[in-house]
């Protein structure tokens, strides 16, 4: 009995969401003990997508800005670490501050035009910005090696200790997932996070309360870009190969799917969204007649989720299901009473 109280107390203090998060992380951490290296690779990329997804969710769910060019920040992070290795032989650890710096700059640059325009131009600006960065990656041959991309990027090295095995790499990414999650939660539950949510809900009222919209927008873009850049850097080292085709608008759209499936502003949801949307196409890969069509999943799921959450038929179905569910519970209660 006493233990039970302690348990509920911990749950209360942590919050149900956080608890689910940490339990999920523990489960994910023991995955390498049971699976082969092919499956582990999928889990690695799912974990990278978690960081990437959380970074976009910070911007979309908390900042209220839908970025259609998030792949750009991911690309900047990936290219920074790859180029540092390619040109100067730097390893992950020494390039890491630069990854943060350059992706922050990329975010900052995007935030500046954003301040000049209203809602609808957000789509246009984010898309064009990502497109321009993609063109730079493709054409600035001296630095990015152009269409050839950068090959044979070495494993992550942490202060001289090389993460040569897949499970080591995987655990390292998971640690970063946890760190990102915790840091994002600090931010969300602070004055800054509160103000950002106020801007998301009603920017005019937020302005009337004296919130400096521009500086807040710049801050959230920069922070979001940093997390996306870190995810990109991890991608470069884990896959060992990058070129401009990775960082197109399709990647941005996939990232939006991850966030939307998990729920806006719900970071635990993003974790599951990333898991689901990374693993599902890989499962479909094994179904022979679906091999060519497996990436359709992203599109179908986007439409379905929008249907489920934001359409009239979806709302009707949900209401119906709820009433059936309630009835079932009700009947159970009654039968208990009869006994």
């Amino acid at each position: 009995m006493k233990n039970e109280n302690k348990f509920t107390e911990i749950v209360k203090r942590l919050g149900v969401r956080h608890l689910i998060f940490f339990v999920t992380m523990i489960v994910l951490a023991i995955v390498p003990l049971f699976v082969n290296s092919y499956v582990l690779k999928i889990f690695q990329s799912a974990a990278i997508n978690m960081i990437f997804g959380m970074s976009l969710n910070l911007l979309m769910g908390i900042g209220g800005t839908v970025s259609f060019g998030h792949a750009a920040f991911y690309g900047v992070g990936a290219y920074t670490t790859a180029c540092m290795w390619y040109h100067f032989g730097w390893n992950f650890t020494s390039a890491f501050p630069l990854v943060i710096l350059f992706s922050a700059i990329a975010g900052l640059l995007l935030a500046i035009p954003m301040s000049r325009v209203t809602g609808r131009y957000v789509t246009i600006i984010t898309l064009s910005y990502a497109e321009i960065l993609n063109l730079i990656m493709r054409n600035w041959t001296k630095v990015t090696n152009g269409v050839m991309g950068i090959l044979n990027i070495p494993n992550i090295k942490l202060f001289g200790f090389e993460l040569a095995y897949k499970d080591e790499q995987y655990w390292f990414i998971l640690v970063l997932v946890v760190v990102s999650y915790v840091m994002i939660n600090w931010l969300v539950n602070s004055k800054l996070g509160r103000n950002l949510q106020a801007m998301r809900d009603d920017s005019i009222a937020a302005e009337a309360m004296g919130i400096p919209l521009f500086s807040h927008k710049v801050i959230i873009f920069t922070i979001s870009a940093i997390f996306a850049g870190i995810a990109g850097a991890l991608y470069a080292h884990i896959y060992g190969y990058i070129d401009y085709t990775v960082f197109t608008s399709n990647l941005s759209f996939n990232c939006i799917s991850v966030v939307v499936v998990g729920g806006l502003g719900n970071f635990v949801g993003t974790i599951f969204g990333a898991l689901f949307l990374t693993i599902l196409p890989e499962m479909l890969r094994n179904v022979e007649f679906l091999f060519n069509y497996r990436m359709i999943v992203y599109g179908v799921i986007l439409v379905l989720v929008m249907w489920w959450n934001h359409s009239i038929p979806g709302a009707k179905i949900k209401a119906k299901l709820r009433s059936i569910f309630n009835k079932l519970i009700h009947r159970n209660v009654e039968s208990v009473e009869e006994v």
């Binding site: 000049r116 246009i124 600006i125 359709i296 439409v303």
Partner: protein, 294 residues
Amino acid sequence: MFIQLLMNGIALGSVYALTAIGYSLIYSILQLINMSNAAVFLTSSVVFYLLYNSVSKGMIFVTFILTLAFAGCLGYIIELVAIRPIREKGDGNTYALISSIGVKTILEKVCQGAFGSEIHPFPTLLAGKNIVLWDGTKIEWIQIIIIVASLLILTVMTWYTQNTRTGRGLRSLSQNLNACHLMGMPVNRLIGISFAVGSMLAAVSGVAYCMYLKSISISVGAAIGNKAFAATVLGGIGILKGSVVGGFILAIIECFVSGYGNSTASQFISFGILIVMLFIKPTGLFGKKEQRKV
């Protein structure tokens, strides 16, 4: 050289303009950027190619009509299935936008699955026949056909929106959607029609572009889609006239830059122009300044 580039620019501009109108038309009514437009461009070209090589072997005109019909239906269905239920709940345009991205992804991946990533030869009209001008410049007939056809379509579009009942309906829809509802207009059907029209324009432009290139690959949709989108924004999104002008400006500048400069610069130029435009006048060339409402 100058005339050659100009003609290239105008031909390419027609392609951009037709797709751009599709974006603008729907934006003017729903304030929604219909991302699936570029995918319809691609899908229609692929369907044209497949029909031409299987069902209606060799008959370009018949294939074209079939493709148009297909694109019209596709547009209507997209609206019916992916946009309407979300639009009607009224949670906000962002969700309809995301749904249209879903449709775009589906269509693109279906095309990719069916078509692979190779480049295929595309049927064209009057292949290899040129007009030789006084100074020896060669202009392909297909360019002339594309330009004439586009001008014809633009004229018909203008006439249609100004003089028919449906056209008037579409115009009033873009003024005030709710008022149209209250006036008892068949709003849903009209929006469906606008999607169909937008898709058909994208189909024409897709087929025209592939004829111009004489080849088709999976990447045409993304490339032109983005350019047409840039053109729309340049002219002022939601303004049909602006989209056409934006399309021509963008294409002509691009052709001149790649002709006299280099092709890399021409890729940058369209988005460069766009960004500069957004800094100077975010509402586009023809856009009116918005008054902030508190």
